[in-house]
Amino acid sequence: MIRIDPATCDYCGTCVGACPENCIEMGSHYIAIDYSICTECGICVYVCPLEAAQEEAREQG
């Protein structure tokens, strides 16, 4: 499961543009993954210029 930390995120939208499933919802101040669509491909984690998008396993590790 991928989580985007709203406190770290800068709402730049890079992950939104990369998501092949179009499953990331973003406003000026909020961001949310539609987990009913997300395939956990991880591209949002990869392209994030910060470390806002994280795979949960990595976060726990």
Binding site: C12, G17, P49
Partner: protein
């Protein structure tokens, strides 16, 4: 907003959206420009560089939003050597927080209506044609119909995708960037610096764009593939510690740049896509401001014709795609190939190119002579690279 019928609704009030709105309104179309953020021009996610001639097509430079005038370029190799180019009047570094605002006021003066804090949250379609938009404003949902929709919603574009246009960017065609605006160190206000190298910015480059004598945008982009291992943020931290360890940071921004050269089909039934949303930045330099403005102008011209004919089908809107390709897109296809070649350059090659160029006598070191020297001594793609960075009507540094 009243429930009047709009001819054109434009989603996104960056340079592409505002120019599209201005030209649509000037053509007599009832035009509504919507910006999801509650303000225009911020946050700035951009190096803010534009070429002089590219800007001149749209407006006179104004000291309110020109931070610096650039006539010199330095290109640093990984070993910290550089070669320099004297280029009188090459370009400007903008204050985009003021520039974007200015473009939006021009759209209003031309007759467009602008609203901020209003996000396009969905696309209405009937029989495979876009007929309007779903909106979200401060938690409230609403709908508005329009005859034509222009998506100018940046790299994070979802509008085109809701309308059925595939825009998702593969990892290999997406640069991941971070930039800070520094205050304090001495900068040459007429010179931009580029830094290449795999330890500095793998698959991309670092830049120093001055904003006056004591301020500069300092940032870097790395390829999406490199970002898997290490983030742009970490690379920039290294770069700042090496070059500007004590500088104040007045602004921090991140973003992604689509570098696939342009959407093949930036239109559909009742919709056109412009700017970063249509992947229109230069695939080598990442420069996108003037390209977005050109696309906005071309889309507006097609909009006016299509609405006059009363036919907004993809067949008619294809004229926009053709115009873009003829004006800019064909070049981007070439630059895209240059970029793929560049990704395989190692640091030794960068060092060697710079060494050779430093051997060119200073008086002869204008762009043309330098390029010829490079061309004779180095792989051909360096020509394209440097041309891509610093010349051409449709590119910004």
């Amino acid at each position: 907003m009243t429930e009047q019928q709009w001819d054109v609704i434009i989603g996104g009030a960056g340079p592409g959206g505002s120019i599209a709105a201005e030209y649509c309104a000037a053509a007599g179309l009832r035009t509504l420009l919507l910006e999801k953020d509650r303000d225009i021009g911020v946050p700035v996610r951009c190096g803010e560089g534009v070429p002089q001639e590219g800007l001149a097509e749209f407006c006179e430079p104004d000291p309110n939003w020109i931070a610096s005038t650039i006539d010199q370029v330095r290109i640093y190799s990984p070993d910290e050597n550089y070669f320099r180019l004297a280029m009188p009047g090459a370009g400007y570094i903008l204050h985009r927080r003021s520039f974007d605002y200015y473009l939006a006021t021009r759209a209003v003066k031309a007759g467009a209506r602008v609203e901020t804090g209003v996000a396009v949250s969905g696309v209405l379609q009937e029989a495979g044609r876009v007929t309007g938009v779903e909106l979200e404003q401060g938690g409230r949902q609403s709908k508005l119909s329009c005859r034509l929709l222009i998506a100018a919603d940046g790299v994070e574009s979802r509008i085109a995708r809701w309308a059925g246009i595939h825009t998702a960017l593969p990892l290999k065609d997406l640069d991941s960037c971070q930039q800070v605006t520094l205050q304090g160190p001495d900068f040459n206000p007429g010179r931009v610096d580029f830094y290449f190298g795999n330890r500095i910015a793998p698959g991309g480059y670092a830049w120093v764009f001055p904003k006056g004598e004591n301020s500069a945008n300092v940032g870097l982009g790395i390829s999406g593939k490199a970002s898997v291992r290490r983030k742009a943020q970490a690379y920039l931290q290294d770069f700042l510690e090496a070059h500007f360890p004590e500088a104040s940071i007045l602004s921090t921004t991140v973003g992604g740049i689509p570098l696939d050269g342009s959407l093949k089909c930036p239109y559909g039934n009742g919709i056109m896509v412009v700017g970063d949303a249509a992947h229109q930045p230069n695939p080598v330099t990442g420069a996108g401001i003037i390209n977005a403005m050109i696309a906005g102008k071309l889309a507006a011209a097609t909009a006016a014709k299509a609405l006059e004919q009363g036919d907004t089908s993809a067949n008619v809107l294809a004229a926009y795609g053709k115009a873009w390709h003829k004006r800019v897109g064909w070049e981007h296809a070439l630059y895209y190939k240059v970029r793929l070649l560049m990704e395989n350059l190692n640091d030794e090659t960068y060092n060697s190119v710079t060494g050779k160029l430093s051997g060119v006598p200073e008086p002869q070191r204008n762009l043309r002579k330098v390029l010829l020297t490079v061309f004779r001594n180095q792989p051909g793609f360096v020509l394209d690279l440097v041309m891509g960075l610093f010349s051409g009507r449709s590119k910004e540094a």
